[in-house]
């Protein structure tokens, strides 16, 4: 079951145990909810195994290589029996990984084939948070799908997410920009992956997968970028002094008019006085 805990802009989410059970966040998926589709990406994070991916017995992705992430594809909403076989082997046999996944209409999700903490192949579905972020901000999500113990994720040397375990994810809304990130064993300074330069584009969700196997020394990062979560800024304050009057004319125009009026008055009075 998915759980999403939102506290002060930080979301800690648990990967699905039985599939995607949470509807996409409100206003999320650009995919038409009405047409009953979901946007689904697939990530292959099991090192050393080229596979064919089947959904309900039909081949979905042939020759899927480790470290590959597909573009989001629209899938009809529904329940899928996902089976993954070693590439080229008969789909009649015993799959390397098998899992039933519910894909609700309007959801945006990533299926991740990966290793469990103790190194066994598994499949998990992660809901991608594609809700809006404020102007100037970006969402950063980290998913632990590696055969490794709990980790801390640091940006610029400071822990951003602590004690993240396989197969969980953590997410936060941060300033857009480039951060230098690394992954350390939880509570230590022992770097497991990285450092890597991550470009957190404004209005996007940068999803980082920590994948591979600590024992096989092939831990790595894979980055997925989901866009379209941008918001307009709050406004434009581009003036201070009131030098432009209500007619869109500068104040000096009024000054000139005033001086001229005073001059006219003075000249008029002199003229009148001269007549006497």
């Amino acid at each position: 079951m998915n759980q999403r805990l939102i506290a002060a802009g930080i979301t800690a989410a648990t990967a699905a145990g039985l599939g995607i059970a949470v509807a996409a966040p409100a206003g999320a998926a650009p995919a038409a909810d009405s047409s009953g589709t979901a946007m689904v990406s697939v990530f292959h994070g099991v090192p050393g195994l080229i596979v064919d991916v089947y959904a309900n017995g039909k081949e979905l992705i042939p020759d899927f290589k480790p470290g590959t992430l597909t573009s989001p594809m629209p899938l009809p909403a529904g329940s899928y029996d996902i089976t993954i076989f070693k590439a080229g082997s008969s789909p009649k046999g015993t799959p390397a990984i098998e899992k039933k996944v519910d894909v609700p209409a309007g959801a945006n999700a990533t299926l991740a084939a990966h290793l469990t903490a103790d190194g066994k192949p598994a499949l998990d579905a992660f809901v991608n948070d594609v809700s809006k972020v404020p102007a100037g901000k970006a969402r950063l999500t980290v998913r632990h799908v590696a055969a490794a113990p709990a980790v801390d994720v640091r940006a610029g040397g400071t822990p951003v997410f602590k004690d993240l375990e396989n197969p969980k994810q953590a997410s936060a809304v941060v300033d857009a920009g480039t951060v230098n990130a690394d992954v350390v064993l939880a509570g230590t300074d022992k770097v497991a992956i990285g450092p890597a330069s991550l470009k957190l584009a404004e209005g996007s969700n940068t999803v980082v997968y920590a994948w591979g196997s600590a024992a096989d020394k092939n831990l790595a990062l894979k980055v997925q970028t989901l866009t379209g979560m941008d918001s307009a800024p709050g406004g434009v304050n581009a003036g201070q002094a009131g030098l432009v009057d209500s007619g869109g004319q500068p104040v000096w125009l009024y000054a000139v008019g005033g001086v001229a009026a005073a001059g006219a008055l003075l000249a008029g009075r002199r003229l009148a006085a001269g007549r006497r």
């Binding site: 650009p30 995919a31 038409a32 047409s35 009953g36 589709t37 946007m39 959904a55 309900n56 039909k58 081949e59 042939p62 020759d63 899927f64 590959t68 597909t70 573009s71 989001p72 594809m73 629209p74 899938l75 009809p76 909403a77 529904g78 100037g136 857009a176 470009k199 209005g203 997925q224 970028t225 941008d230 307009a232 800024p233 709050g234 406004g235 434009v236 304050n237 581009a238 003036g239 201070q240 002094a241 030098l243 432009v244 209500s246 007619g247 869109g248 004319q249 125009l253 009024y254 008019g257 001229a260 009026a261 005073a262 001059g263 006219a264 003075l266 000249a267 008029g268 002199r270 003229l271």
Partner: protein
């Protein structure tokens, strides 16, 4: 002697009255409020629907969709490279020529307008001038307490058809033509439209405009000028 003085007073009177009349005419012609609107309101552009692969003919059976699946192993594309950034904005007829800074948002969530009133700011999170889609937004001060009138005070005098150019870092210069000017109460600025990232490409210039009320935070309206590409 007396006649000469009389003639002098008459002349002064005439000049002063003429100036008063001219000022009054300029002010009267510009009423009411902010500079007059012209041209169409900035267009909304909803996000284009993502490419949809049509589901099999039978829309029913949501529990177990059968039939073809969109088989696609396309690796997600890497993010696009940054576009060339704008360097100089010019409106030749009005004598405007302003260096362009790349700006983001301040702590208050508003666009961070350049502190130098002679500079303008390109909203770097939105579309860039020259991008295939979206509104490239350039902001600038109408005035500043310490620097007097700002460079975009000239927008009050802009006319339909005025040429606007943007010089880019890749040495290209883009030419635009002014199509509209609108003023909005700050509480009612269509920000989502002005800062849209898709839809037809436009250049959107934003500054502040009258009325000015220090008790209510200064200028109460935004002036928005929209321009479209005319080729290079």
């Amino acid at each position: 002697m007396r006649d000469r003085r009389r003639r002098l007073h008459l002349a002064v009177l005439a000049v002063c009255l003429a100036v008063v009349a001219a000022v009054a005419a300029v002010i009267a012609l510009d009423r009411p409020g902010a500079p007059a609107d012209f041209g169409p309101a900035p267009a909304a552009a909803g996000r284009p629907a993502p490419p949809q692969r049509t589901a099999p003919a039978s829309p029913a059976a949501p529990a177990a969709p059968a039939g073809r699946f969109p088989v696609r192993v396309s690796e997600a594309p890497p993010p696009a490279a940054d576009p060339p950034r704008p360097l100089v904005l010019a409106i030749p007829r009005l004598g405007v020529r302003a260096p362009v800074e790349a700006v983001g948002v301040g702590r208050d969530g508003q666009v961070a307008v350049p502190g130098n009133a002679e500079h303008v700011g390109w909203y770097r999170f939105g579309a860039a001038p020259g991008a295939a889609a979206g509104s490239a937004v350039v902001v600038g001060h109408v005035d500043s307490r310490t620097q007097g009138l700002g460079v975009l005070a000239a927008l009050g005098s802009v006319r339909e058809g005025d040429r606007v150019t943007v010089a880019l870092a890749d040495r290209r210069t883009l030419a635009y033509r002014v199509v509209s000017r609108r003023s909005y109460d700050k509480a009612a600025v269509p920000l989502a439209r002005l800062f849209r990232r898709d839809g037809p490409p436009v250049l959107t210039l934003i500054t502040c405009t009258a009325p000015f009320d220090p008790a209510r935070g200064g200028y109460l309206r935004n002036l928005v000028v929209t321009a479209v590409r005319t080729g290079v």
